[in-house]
Amino acid sequence: MTMQRIKPHLPWITLLVLTAMVGVVDPNFLRPANLLSLAGDIVPLFIMALGLTFAIYIGGIDLSVQSMANMITVIASIYLASLGAWVAVLCIAAGFGLGMVSGFLTTRLCVPSFISTLAVGGVCFSIAQWLSGNRALNMDAEQRNAVFGWMIGHTGIVPNELFLAAALLALCLFIERRTILGRVLKAVGAGEPAAKASGIDVGRYKMLAFAISGALAAIAGLLFSVKLSGGAPTIANGFLLPAIVAVLVGGTPLTGGVGGVLNTLIGTLIVAVIRASMLYLGVEATQQQMLFGLVLIGAIALTIDRSKLRTVK
């Protein structure tokens, strides 16, 4: 019972403990400027994890987010020249649309989400390769600064990415807490049959969840390509694992229904602190993936609601 009561608070306790631990090893870590720049670096990952939260919140998964971001870096790099600021609209629309496709496949055609999103990810990868001719692309630096410079500058010591992240978090939080969509998604995650029996067209809302996941992955890709001033079909590889870890460590379990976007904020910060701590504690970066893999297993094992799984397949 006590475990049940502690569980919701584990994520932020973990975050505090980890931060304190690194702070003890190297007090410089806790300098505001350092923390802020750390936070600024993690924003693309955070935005991706934010979107992924919606897919996981309803008990699904979106494995296409990484390929989606890859594809968007290519699209952004190519069309920035011709479309200017409108390229952002194109990117988000592409992400939203492809996410909708995943959602359609999952809800209307009963393809499990890990397969449907894997397949959509394959489609994204192909598009990225096709558009880019399988090469790395560069943005025109001047035009990038003119159109998207506001995304990556600093205001005082605060990286501008953080404002973008805060705005998106606020929007997602609003969707989650205050809209019909958020309410229905919660009901789907917590008890889909009951939501259906209440006369709700559950499928429509589930599709939207995948679409939001796609759209936010697209924004993450856009920001990433702006930061790097270019794009390539594999440039964002390595995002998927930390994004899933961020959502699950934050306390949104694979079975959905509890947690939410605020949890993902904490989860992403945990990921950031773990990364930083590896640096400070002298652990080689090559061990990062293995570590995150193990953290992922631990996080799932701790958070998953086994009463919702009749048989574990």
Binding site: T179, L181, A194, S198
Partner: protein, 501 residues
Amino acid sequence: MYQLSSVDKKFPGVHALKSIDFHIKRGEIVGLVGENGAGKSTLMKVIYGAYQPDGGQILIDGKPVHFANPRQAMKRGIGMVFQEQSLIPNLTVMENIFLGYEAQFTRLGVVNWKAMAAAAKKQLAKVKLEIDPATVTSALSFAQRQLVELAKVLTLEERIEGDLVILLDEPTSVLSEEEVKLLFKLVRELTSRASFIFVSHRMDEVMALSDRIYVMKDGQVMDVVAKADADASAIQHKMVGRHVDREYYREQRQKPYDASRTLFEMRDIVLPGRPHKLDLALHPGEVLCLVGTEGSGREAILRTIYGMLAPVSGRFEMKGQELRNFNPRRSVAMGVGYVPRERKVEGIVSGMNVYENITLSQLGRYSRAGVIDVAREKALARDWIRKLSIKAHSEFADCGNLSGGNQQKVVLSKWRSGGSDIMLLDHPTRGLDIGAKEDVYDMIRDMSDDGVGIVLVADTLEEAIGLSHTIVVLKDGAIRQRFDCRPGAKPSLYDLLHHMI
């Protein structure tokens, strides 16, 4: 030779078996009858080892035994032929027969298919089934599968020294009359090798096949009737004979309904997979009760009204409007509310609080442009918590933590607060204690007073009789009889049973 002596089984809140004494002799066929919830299935689970009794003893040939799981019971010669198909459809017949016991045909993990086929052939011969043992099970008819199940259980014969007890759970429910006859003939022949415990809803079949009949009610054995003394109506009396109190069902509050108006009307409705035409109508203030055994078609009718099932043909009018497409969203919009049997799965969303649950079916009404007005939701929830005296610490209480009765009240407030005037209640009192049941009965009368039409599938026959204005008896998907249930002129249990089985 097999005996239960004062066996007890308790679950949280339910005393499922109360000091059961039961015995079966070598080569005997024993029938087991009782209403739903009388404890038949619990008793069977104790017999074949799926449940362990909390008190009393299981004796085989006078010696106490203990089974931790069905496999151990099998080792002592007790086998079960399941009502729901327990054969794995994508495996061949022989694999199913020897599933879990392949070791006898394998060497170093490699299966000798010839040996297994020969052995399977032998088993199939016992049930007089002439099929290739390598047939994939999904290609068989229901009757054939039933026989394969029996053949599977009969492999105990070779494995076990000593006597066999075989449980048959509703073995006839999917069989035609001819097939039933064949099965019975077979069972009689097999009594030279095994004893049988036969469970069925169909009284005539139980009486035809069994040597003795155990009648169960409320977790107790009411009587044991020998074949010679068996009398259908007497047995039915014992099955249902319960003290019926008119107060209990709030009969004094039953008022005539408004027959001049109609909430919905079904004319010549044919449901998928059923040949019969159904005619049904519901009026404001009426409690219409659908009565029948499990599988008689009660659920299908509820699901049709709720829009989850589309009829094949016929005319379905709701509030003067003919319905063409069927989906729950449309039904809810037209004022249909559904209180499902699986309260915890389909009724409430556990993990969401009271106000979130109450407005789940009517989010559009508490929002503007997709943005929810939480303050109004909370006010609504507080209102209904008070109206129905829902025991929850506040509107923020997680519905998963409420008691069953209070969960049911939340489900009812969900629909009532949305103004639903066609309520479908599927076993609304299942699993509730007496006080909570009475609350539900009161709420049903309240709804009637408010002009709500109610379609009820009740937990027991008394409940159906006590609560309803009209009873419709269903059997095998067809409407057999209608009863008008004015207070004072209600049909008796036996009137209903007569048409049900």
